[in-house]
């Protein structure tokens, strides 16, 4: 009993801070990533062969770009992008400095997930709305994305959990977070208890994200 309270007195502030950092990194980079990935994914779908705005050039260029960025592991991207990060965020360290590479890492991935979610929407449905004279923008936003919402939410859940993993490496540029805490104290300084608590927290976090994601997706897909 006293062991736990001693541990908490010593480590609670660090753990709380790390949890906060992880939340900020995941939240902010997820928001930016989705803002970039949603139009990208939609563009990939509508410019695909046989689609309403089929364009080999745009589709091919997007595909290439996404594949190029996705080829790089996050840890490489983190350092490879330093000049770009500096230009965009004004710094390359701390939480601020890690958002840019996190977005660069997850936006193309989320774009792919969104693409596959949107591709699941029955083309006949799009066609039905086309046949009624609905304009292209509404087709994408009000029909395609609307109908894909449950699947999009499931995709975003996967992506969010991926982001939690990626933030573990953010410690390398001094951004902190749970992964960093586990590495610095749990691994480097042999504080096993810190390692176990961090791991437990990460597990709980991932469970929480997955549960929320599933719940929202289920609510949106009542009918289907």
């Amino acid at each position: 009993m006293s062991g736990i309270s001693v541990f908490l007195r010593e480590w609670a502030p660090y753990i709380a801070q790390a949890v906060g950092e992880t939340f900020v990194m995941v939240g902010v980079s997820l928001a930016f990533s989705v803002a970039i990935a949603l139009p990208l994914g939609a563009l990939l779908v509508v410019t695909g062969p046989g689609r309403p705005r089929a364009s080999r050039l745009v589709h091919g260029a997007l595909n290439l770009l996404i594949n190029l960025v996705r080829s790089l592991p996050f840890i490489i991207l983190l350092f490879f992008m330093l000049p770009v990060t500096k230009a965009i965020a004004g710094t390359t360290i701390g939480v601020r400095g890690v958002i840019v590479p996190l977005v660069a890492y997850s936006a193309p991935y989320i774009a792919r997930l969104i693409e596959s979610s949107l591709l699941e929407v029955d083309r006949g449905v799009i066609e039905a709305y086309e046949a009624m004279g609905v304009r292209g923008r509404d087709l994408v936003v009000q029909v395609l994305i609307r109908e894909a919402r449950p699947s999009l939410l499931r995709s975003l859940t996967i992506a969010t959990i991926g982001l939690v993993g990626a933030t573990a490496m953010a410690g390398l540029v001094g951004a902190g977070g749970l992964g960093d805490l586990a590495y610095r104290f749990g691994f480097v300084r042999y504080e096993n208890a810190v390692m176990y608590v961090t791991v437990a927290l990460l597990i709980a976090l991932v469970q929480l994200i997955q549960t929320i994601g599933n719940g929202l997706a289920r609510r949106l897909s009542k009918g289907g």
Partner: protein, 349 residues
């Protein structure tokens, strides 16, 4: 509505080729036909005959590779994107697969397109409810498509297709995924909508039963070409094209009859009698046999209910003195029965 000859669609030598080079497939070639205001036109053919392509060309979901389509005098190829959208708003379309939003309720499925077409919110709600009432789903407004039967899903799709007040309803194999009972109910609904709102209906199907139940005229497609076009009763009474005869084989078994005639060796005395409308309701054959010294051996018989009239076909081998048979046939013609010598039918017309 039949009889008014105002043309809604004018198709001239419409062709559609998919792909290019040696792998190209001609889905349609040289199809010319007029679709009249207020009619229900059936488009029938076997799979691959081009019937779906034809109906999809009418709202430019497919662009014809050649020829022209005019909608009320406007050539479709002259329209820009906005013009095409405006034109499509004057049409509705239903599909084999219903194509409803799975994540939306019945009411939302009808309301969303209305909203996207710019109807004011109050009218969106009112129209959605009204047309869902027309298709008999007022008690399912909050249900999701997955909770509905196929027939109910198609009813939602019909409400969605007509709620914005189109002049034309395009039906692409709309009953092909339904069981016979639901097929019949949906066809009755389409016919009722045609009557009530005067909407021109183009109905693509591979089933002759569908055509005979609701269509005024029928276009038979074969290998992408228009094989035959005419009033349903005329096409039934006198199918000229082999493709039409194939489609009618299940209903009027001509091949079977031909082999029966061979076996009985009654060539030369066999006649087909077609009864239409009034004549189908009278015992014309019985009266004739009583009045003349002939006897009749019925080789094949069928009577079916077309949209507006009953239609019957008898294949009869007559025996008796040649002159007496002639007089009996003349009498039958007087009673309004179309009499043709079997196997020689088309030279007589």
């Amino acid at each position: 509505m039949v009889g008014s000859a105002e043309t809604v669609f004018a198709l001239r030598s419409v062709g559609k080729t998919f792909g290019q080079g040696p792998g190209a497939v001609a889905a349609l070639s040289g199809v010319s036909l007029d679709i009249r205001r207020g009619e229900i036109l059936g488009v029938i053919g076997q799979s691959g005959a081009g019937k779906s392509t034809l109906v999809r060309c009418l709202n430019y979901l497919e662009r014809p590779s050649s020829g022209s389509i005019e909608f009320e005098g406007t050539p479709l190829e002259s329209l820009d994107a906005a013009g095409l959208r405006a034109l499509r708003r004057r049409m509705g379309m239903i599909f084999q697969g219903f194509n409803l939003l799975k994540t939306a309720t019945v009411l939302e499925n009808v309301a969303l397109p209305l909203r996207l077409l710019g109807f004011p919110p109050g009218e969106v709600e009112a129209r959605s409810r009204e047309y869902l009432g027309v298709v008999g789903l007022s008690d399912k407004l909050d249900a999701y498509p997955s909770q509905l039967s196929g027939g109910q899903k198609q009813r939602v799709a019909i409400a969605r297709a007509i709620a914005h007040g189109p002049e034309v309803l395009l039906c692409d194999e709309a009953t092909s995924a339904l069981d016979p009972e639901n097929t019949e109910a949906i066809l009755r609904l389409i016919a009722a909508i045609n009557e009530r709102y005067g909407i021109t209906v183009v109905l693509v199907t591979h089933e002759m039963r569908v055509v005979q139940a609701v269509c005024d005229r029928v276009a038979v497609l074969d290998g992408g070409e228009l094989a035959e076009l005419g009033a349903v009763v005329d096409v039934y009474a006198d199918p000229r094209h082999p493709a039409t005869r194939r489609l009618l084989a299940g209903i009027l078994p001509r091949e079977m009859t031909a082999s029966l005639i061979d076996r009985l060796g009654v060539h030369g005395s066999v006649y087909s009698l077609t009864f239409r409308g009034q004549a189908a309701g009278r015992p014309a054959l019985a009266e004739t046999i009583k009045s003349f010294a002939v006897s009749a051996n019925i080789l094949a018989a069928n009577i079916i209910e077309l949209k507006r009239e009953p239609f019957g076909l008898l294949v009869i081998a007559f025996s008796g003195a040649k002159a007496e048979v002639g007089r009996a046939l003349a009498h039958l013609r007087e009673l309004g029965v179309a009499v043709r010598e079997w196997g020689n039918e088309h030279e007589r017309d």
